[in-house]
């Protein structure tokens, strides 16, 4: 009973928040609604017994990605009238994408289509019994044994993307004064200060 209440609660808030993400006029509000949506998705994962995925969702998406979203969005100076000017221009493309997604969704729901039916038995065989192994261990075992190359491949893709972003944004600015901490720390008193005994009346 409680689980059903929790499920419908999380789902309802998730859907509501997701709608508000795209409806909100203020982009900062959008990001905050998105965070609420992430939280409720994590709640659904916990209900499924996938606590590891739930925690990773919160840590990665809420704790890191959404912070950077918020960081960027808060700095933007959004002009609503300027946004509306482009609205009509992009409307056909937007509608087209929306229709394609909607058709796919309907097709998916009606036909009861499953992803790679042949794979299903293989997955069941590979995944250990949930009662014996905690799902953190189960995920780790799958990722680092059967799917290790795919996993490492995904890591490589991310690494390339990261290096690409750095290369695109790195620029050498001349004339910037930088702090050299090692030089500062290794500075001795003798390097910079000398004491002179100056005779009275003989100072320059």
């Amino acid at each position: 009973m409680y689980e059903a209440i929790a499920f419908y609660g999380f789902s309802a808030i998730l859907l509501l928040a997701a709608v508000l993400v795209i409806v909100s006029r203020n982009p900062v509000h959008s990001v905050l609604w998105l965070i609420l949506a992430f939280f409720n998705a994590a709640g659904l994962f916990v209900l499924l017994g996938a606590e590891f995925v739930a925690m990773i969702l919160v840590i990665v998406y809420v704790g890191a990605v959404a912070v950077l979203f918020l960081f960027v969005v808060m700095m933007l100076d959004v002009d609503l009238s300027e946004l509306r000017a482009g609205f009509a221009q992009y409307l056909p493309l937007g509608v087209l994408i929306g229709v394609v997604l909607l058709v796919e969704l309907i097709f998916f729901v009606i036909s009861g289509w499953t992803l790679g039916p042949a794979l299903k038995s293989a997955i069941v065989a590979a995944a250990p019994d949930a009662a014996q192994v905690s799902n953190t261990r189960a995920i780790g075992r799958l990722l680092y044994t059967d799917y290790v190359f795919v996993f490492q491949g995904a890591g490589m893709v991310l690494l390339v993307a990261m290096i690409g972003a750095i290369v695109l944004t790195l620029r050498q600015r001349p004339g910037v004064r930088k702090q050299n901490i090692a030089a500062q720390v290794s500075r001795q008193r003798g390097d910079t200060v000398t004491l002179h005994k100056v005779e009275t009346g003989a100072g320059a």
């Binding site: 919160v58 809420v62 704790g63 960081f71 953190t136 901490i181």
Partner: protein, 342 residues
């Protein structure tokens, strides 16, 4: 006393849990009040002053007087502020500071939720604290508050990665994400020494995570007036204040659980006179020691500049902790101490 305990256990589970949670929160608020007192006393001693002495014996009633003062002040919401977010931000801060305590083992078996992913839960909750700061800074509609929020967002990403790696080394040794199992795990002394640099990195990251000196850049009262909480007054400010100190206590508790053996006697000395002292007292003593270090650091080290913190996080902590993960993993592998389970 025993009859009272029996009576306590006779209460239905749901009600008893509620009662326990309320009592824990009240105890934490009491701790908060006297950590502020301790801070003022210790800082006073460091700076050759007396600290609070006027209210009550040794100034012991000072925190209560401060609380009454804050409560009786007027709440001011700036005209240009986003009212909902402005009020929500301190609530979010305090809630996050409180919910993390659900998984902390105070004593053997004395934990609200002994979940399998306790460490990840703590890591998740503590990384959310930044939202309170960002929301406060943005909704205040004030440039100082906004600058504080910006700093907080950029500050957070720079040490959180190395903090994660520190936790990874601990997990490599224990082989579990459950906090009670981490406390109960007995590792040889040389392994503890190998963990020492990670303890230092974790504690420095904890200073940054709680926005404490020398990393109190989001507040930076000497350059940003009060940073993210510039526009806050009375109870809304008090909530931020409580959240900051509760986060301090929480980070001390996490450090205790991960590195200092939680409720067990120090250094794993399970010998007679030390084991007589109840576990919760050991836990409290360790937390109190770490809190003292928090205050000690505040009294000693000047504030870091913004770019210096970024440099520390990305150029020193991250490479070092990455290498140290390899070192510890390699050592465990070589000595066959890797917790391998089928």
């Amino acid at each position: 006393m025993a009859e009272l305990l029996d009576l306590f256990w006779a209460i239905p589970t749901g009600l008893r849990l509620t009662l326990e949670i309320v009592l824990t929160v009240l105890a934490l608020l009491g701790c908060f009040a006297y950590v502020t007192y301790a801070e003022r006393k210790v800082l006073g001693a460091i700076q050759l002053r007396q600290g609070p002495i006027m209210v009550g014996p040794f100034g012991l009633l000072q925190p209560i007087a401060d609380g009454v003062k804050l409560l009786s002040k007027e709440t001011i919401i700036p005209a240009g502020a986003n009212r909902v977010l402005f009020v929500l931000a301190p609530m979010v801060m305090l809630t996050l500071a409180l919910i993390a305590w659900a998984v902390i083992p105070f004593d053997a078996g004395a934990v609200f939720a002994n979940i399998n992913v306790g460490v990840l839960y703590l890591f998740a909750v503590s990384s959310l604290g930044v939202y309170g700061v960002i929301m406060a800074g943005w909704s205040s509609n004030s440039k100082y508050a906004f600058l504080g929020a910006m700093r907080s967002a950029a500050q957070m990403v720079s040490y959180e990665v190395s903090m994660g790696l520190v936790i990874v080394t601990q997990l490599l040794i224990v082989g579990s994400l459950n906090l009670t199992e981490i406390v109960e795990h007995r590792s040889p002394v040389w392994l503890w020494i190998l963990q020492l640099p990670m303890l230092v990195i974790f504690f420095i990251s904890a200073l940054a995570e709680t926005n404490r000196a020398p990393f109190d850049l989001p507040e930076g009262e000497s350059e940003l007036v009060g940073g993210f909480n510039t526009e806050y007054s009375s109870m809304t400010f008090a909530l931020f204040f409580i959240a900051e100190y509760l986060n301090m206590i929480l980070m001390s508790a996490i450090t205790t659980v991960l590195f200092l053996g939680g409720y067990l006697p120090p250094f794993g000395l399970m010998i007679a006179p030390l084991t007589w002292i109840p576990g919760i007292l050991w836990f409290a003593l360790k937390v109190a020691f770490l809190l003292f270090v928090f205050i000690w650091v505040r009294g000693t080290v000047p504030r870091y500049r913004y770019d210096q913190l970024m440099r520390l996080g990305w150029k020193i902590f991250l490479p070092f902790s990455l290498i140290w993960v390899l070192v510890i993993a390699g050592t465990l592998m070589a000595t066959g101490m890797l917790p391998v389970r089928s």
